[in-house]
Symmetry: C2
Subunit: 246 residues, 2 copies
């Protein structure tokens, strides 16, 4: 694979071979590049926004704050993800985008997206597919939050993080550094950090995981996936029908 000129083109290529023209058009989204520090906000909920981003390096999250002060993390964002589309279609962004580590992002104007969609319809179709994958991942989390116990929620988060980290770093198998505080895990799973702590401990005691200073090892991945109804939504796709070979 190596360092491609475009992270996002690499993601799209997983689903369909791009023509040269398509690849060039996609690469234009990543012409500019910006380094941001951990904690930086790229977009703020309830504020106007006209920029979007491709995340090139690092870990980010999107979240909302409710007015009792509690936070719900909606999604973790990984290299190759396109960020901020919901923000630019509304007059006020529905969510906040925040860097969880130092990151590299490529900002682009919404007009760049508009051009890309109208001039490269196949790319538009692939972006729609990505949007649907994200949708399904969100509905999975909805079911987890609505219908499962704290222990299962934490386990499901670990599985999802592992799988998403894998797409960036193919070396990862069952051991990885999470890069999240227990409070962040709690805000993603609808729990308090205190209870997350107890659940991690319990998962460890019951032999599902092992922990050594920030590093997590899944020791019984199959059992974890079974209790959490977990499915990796970046696999099992069938897109042959969508884009005729040309």
């Amino acid at each position: 694979m190596g360092k491609s000129a475009s992270c996002f083109a690499d993601v799209l290529s997983e689903f369909a071979k791009l023509t040269d023209a398509e690849r060039q058009a996609v690469e234009r989204l990543e012409e500019r590049q910006r380094e941001i520090r951990r904690g930086t906000l790229l977009q703020c909920a309830n504020e106007p926004s006209s920029e979007m981003f491709i995340l090139r390096k690092g870990l980010m999250m999107s979240y909302v704050l409710l007015d009792d002060g509690s936070r719900q993390i909606l999604r973790f964002l990984f290299p190759g993800d396109m960020l901020g589309l919901p923000g630019v279609i509304y007059t006020e962004a529905p969510e906040t985008l925040c860097a969880l580590s130092d990151c590299t992002v490529c900002p682009f104007d919404r007009s760049a997206l508009s051009e890309l969609l109208t001039e490269q319809p196949r790319v538009g179709a692939l972006i729609l597919i990505l949007s649907q994958i994200e949708r399904v991942a969100l509905t999975d989390r909805l079911a987890i939050l609505g219908r499962t116990s704290a222990k299962v929620r934490v386990g499901a988060l670990l599985l999802e993080m592992r799988d998403r980290l894998c797409t960036t770093d193919k070396n990862i198998t069952d051991s990885f550094t999470l890069g999240l505080t227990q409070e962040e895990i709690g805000d993603a799973t609808g729990l308090t950090s205190v209870h997350v702590n107890r659940m991690l401990r319990q998962l460890e005691e019951e032999g599902f995981i092992r922990r050594e200073n920030g590093r997590v090892t899944l020791t019984d991945e199959a059992a974890l996936a079974r209790t959490a109804n977990y499915v990796n939504r970046y696999q099992g796709l069938q897109l042959g029908w969508l884009l005729p070979a040309r």
Copy 2:
């Protein structure tokens, strides 16, 4: 408005004026039409599916069953909605589509979508926008499930249902028939039907709503919306930048 040849074209027209060619292409999705009875399943989770639908009349839902037997309702579906896209991009559908009332649906093959996307890029862009609106509605629900009390969850569901019913029936203001059992409300909000019952009663006692055999009246909509952080995601859109007038 009147009876247009295409429900879906009417939805798209809310966001951008369609050309004649675009409208015709969209109308092709609704060439066939099928009446289905309450309880009919159009698509089953974990089974292959190659068909999609436009819902023309009635109320449907999508849900998943966890293997402890509990059900999470993911989304309620209203006339003008496109159904089943997540189902056709995966080899096995991620969710079940079920009719909550007698419905009229227009089935179409996935190749019809493929053609539409490649031949009418602006329509593709609009479908992407619809997909993003749905995404934001889902993240709103994620925050509700993760971070709010049972009472707020039920209140938020009432508000959302009212707003979605409004787009079909412009007469509705603050009073409407919900068309859901308390068990269904529970499965959508992550509660038991017993607790939904108590919350409805409490909302009534506290003057937020009134109920008369299946009909709900929102008597203090503003307060309800405030406590639930509710935003109607079909409003507040800004799409002028997306599709150049032609």
